[in-house]
Amino acid sequence: MSLKDKVALITGASRGIGKAIAMELALMGSSIAFISKNPLQVEQTEKMLQNLGVRTKGYALDISEISQLKKTIDDILKEFGQIDFLINNAGKTEDRLLLRMSEADWDSVMNINLKASFFMIKFVGKHFLSRNYGKIINISSISGLTGIPGQANYAASKAGLIGLTKTVAKELGPRGITCNAICPGFIETDMTQHLPLERKEKILKEIPLGRFGKAEEVAKLAVFLLGPGGDYITGQCFIIDGGLLA
């Protein structure tokens, strides 16, 4: 499979799952535009992708700065000429018992995970509309399907992404634009690295496959959906969790 003439825009591509998606797409030949927060990480990821021989450019931006997003997307369109794939991957947790959760905890997680994804879709969606083509993937989470104690804000944001995904699929489907969500379980990234050991062991016991997933495994699912295999799939939510929710 080759995705050589495609341009992907990925948020949060400098670490973890987003980086793995960028690498897998680069291996298929896609050009990669990405937005992450930390300028140093952006530079490093850009170099790494360049070494794979694809066209790439990273943009250092906090995606919760909505007013800057549109300008950045305009810059990307100028630079790359088109966008074919949008992957809303950037996300954060701010776990706390809901009875102790502050307004700031709630807002920051909602703004990055849900609000920024909405505006990414809105801004890139106009471009997709003008081309009658586009594939959108929102990285949700099993937390948004089952709820996880300590993640009231995160679970709500990820459940929100699923509602958003389905609405986008229905609104933009008539123009050949697809939108799906991926709900990973526990994946080995910085996000899960700091889980307390006992908690980790407890979770592992509940996962039928007996291990955390790898970022590359999530990336391969994303690439499948972005490739021809995903052409007739829209509005769906794909769980990749080693059987945790089975």
Partner: protein, 84 residues
Amino acid sequence: MAEKKSIEERVKNIIVEQLGVNPEQVTPKARFIEDLGADSLDTVELVMAFEEEFNVEVPDEEAEKLQTVGDVIRYIEENLEEES
């Protein structure tokens, strides 16, 4: 230089091209959805085309109010700054 077309003509051309309707149908009173057969996404695309043609930015809340050909011509006449 080619003779400058009026705003009305340019608006009409865009509508004819985007919606594939006959020029005679595109009267100022014509409503995009009810009379010209546009769906709601067509109206979004139309506004994008007007924005590009006239180099204006139409805020979402204004875009929603542009329901007839005349609404658009009026809006552009009022908001056009470029082109002296």
